[in-house]
């Protein structure tokens, strides 16, 4: 029975031992103070138990020195926890630049994953060991949360915007993936697994599957099919801003503001095109709300990213 009762979950990512180290530090502080209080109470309660002949206790009103002592020491310790925790948090929040980008879309009650090469998985994710993986996530309905205990990562997945999470697996194996934000009737059924493969196995897993179209390619064909290219090219039907090199650049807007063209901006420009108008252009683009799925938007974003890297030919004029 007891082998079924580990005290710490498996450590399978670069972050896991670091989170556990901080956990053990806070645990140490907590155990020390809890012990101090428990022992003191029991000791004092026994030592000063009421005796029949005892006189009334003398008044001890307080001690400024003690009050300061037990204000300052906990304050110092908690500040250590804060700084340590915050530094770790910043790392958890910021994926490395060279990470492999995987798209995760949550919907009631399943996870849809999409690899850069176009492979799609449901409630399963296969990743190589030792390579940072960045998840760009969104939801098609309510709020979900992507939680892999063995990696010590969790991030809410929201409808209408993108959130990211990242990890670098350190041990091969199959790890549980949970939805951690209550999302409706089958919330507890919205579970899956992340399989970490040795690099060679990952390669064979990739090749063993029917070669899909890459995400960027799918985005490209969607880009054509929806007719985006008829305007978003020089001399198009209607003057529209060029999308080459758009991703990550600064866009000047009507009204003097500028905005960085990140995933959120591109998504908004497709769903609600007139929310932000690029300086010098007319607000004529119709909305694609309802005409394109969340997966589709993410594919187009992948396509625009690749266009920025110079591989997406069709975006070229």
């Amino acid at each position: 029975m007891w082998q079924n009762l580990p005290l710490l979950p498996e450590q399978a990512s670069t972050m896991a031992p670091r989170v556990d180290a901080l956990f053990l530090f806070v645990l140490g502080v907590a155990v020390f103070f809890a012990g101090l209080i428990f022992v003191s109470i029991v000791y004092l309660a026994v030592k000063y138990r009421r005796r029949a002949d005892a006189a009334a206790p003398k008044l001890i009103a307080g001690s400024l020195a003690l009050e300061l002592l037990w204000t300052v020491i906990p304050l110092g310790l908690t500040m250590v926890m804060f700084v340590w925790g915050a530094l770790l948090f910043v790392e958890i929040q910021n994926p490395p630049a060279d990470a492999l980008e995987i798209i995760a879309v949550g919907k009631q009650w399943m996870w849809k994953m999409q690899h850069p090469d176009g492979h799609q998985e449901i409630n399963e994710l296969h990743v190589p060991i030792g390579r940072p993986i960045k998840l760009t996530m969104t939801s098609e309905d309510v709020i979900h949360s992507f939680f892999v205990p063995a990696f010590r990562i969790k991030m809410d997945v929201l409808p209408g915007r993108y959130t990211t999470a990242w990890f670098e697996a350190t041990r091969a194996g199959r790890y549980r993936l949970f939805c951690a934000e209550f999302c409706g009737t089958q919330h507890s059924g919205m579970i899956g697994s992340v399989t970490v493969l040795e690099l060679s196995e990952y390669e064979s897993w990739l090749s063993g599957r029917a070669a899909g179209t890459s995400t960027a390619k799918m985005g490209e064909s969607l880009f054509q099919r929806l007719g985006c290219a008829s305007c978003h090219r020089p001399g198009g039907a209607v003057p529209a801003p060029s999308l080459v090199g758009l991703f990550g650049s600064k866009v000047a807007l009507e009204g003097g503001r500028t905005v960085v063209a990140d995933e959120g901006y591109i998504r908004e420009s497709i769903i609600d095109p007139r929310a932000k108008i690029v300086a010098g252009y007319q607000p004529v683009m119709p909305t694609y709300r309802g005409l394109i799925s969340e997966d589709g938007i993410l594919q187009i974003i992948a396509y625009l990213k690749s266009a920025e890297q110079g591989t997406g030919e069709a975006a070229r004029p």
Binding site: R161, T164, L253, T258, V259, D262, E263, Y265
Partner: protein, 101 residues
């Protein structure tokens, strides 16, 4: 016991006229482009001034106990906490269009 209120009818009339004038002013200013966010600042500053006039004179806060001041202030202080901390998130969120400068 109060036999006469501390504020005279004359000062009530004064405050009343001032409130009407400020209302006219804020409406007029709204049609002028002051540039940037100055229109919002002006509108809220005038509204704040009007609110202070109402509170001090019509609500007699000026002659009220310190305790009334504290609770009147507490409401707005807590509102300030709510707005500032929430907007500190909304205006610095990444991956969200609020990040637009």
């Amino acid at each position: 016991m109060k036999s006469t209120p501390p504020i005279s009818v004359k000062s009530y009339v004064g405050v009343f006229v001032a409130l009407l004038l400020l209302t006219a002013l804020t409406t007029a200013v709204a049609f002028v482009d002051l540039g940037g966010n100055l229109n919002v600042v002006a509108a809220l500053a005038i509204a704040g001034g009007k609110a202070i006039l109402v509170a001090l004179y019509f609500m007699h806060l000026r002659h009220s106990s310190r305790l009334s001041w504290i609770f009147a202030g507490a409401g707005f202080f807590w509102l300030f906490i709510l707005i500032v901390l929430t907007m500190s998130d909304a205006l610095t969120r990444s991956g969200f269009s609020f990040a637009a400068q």
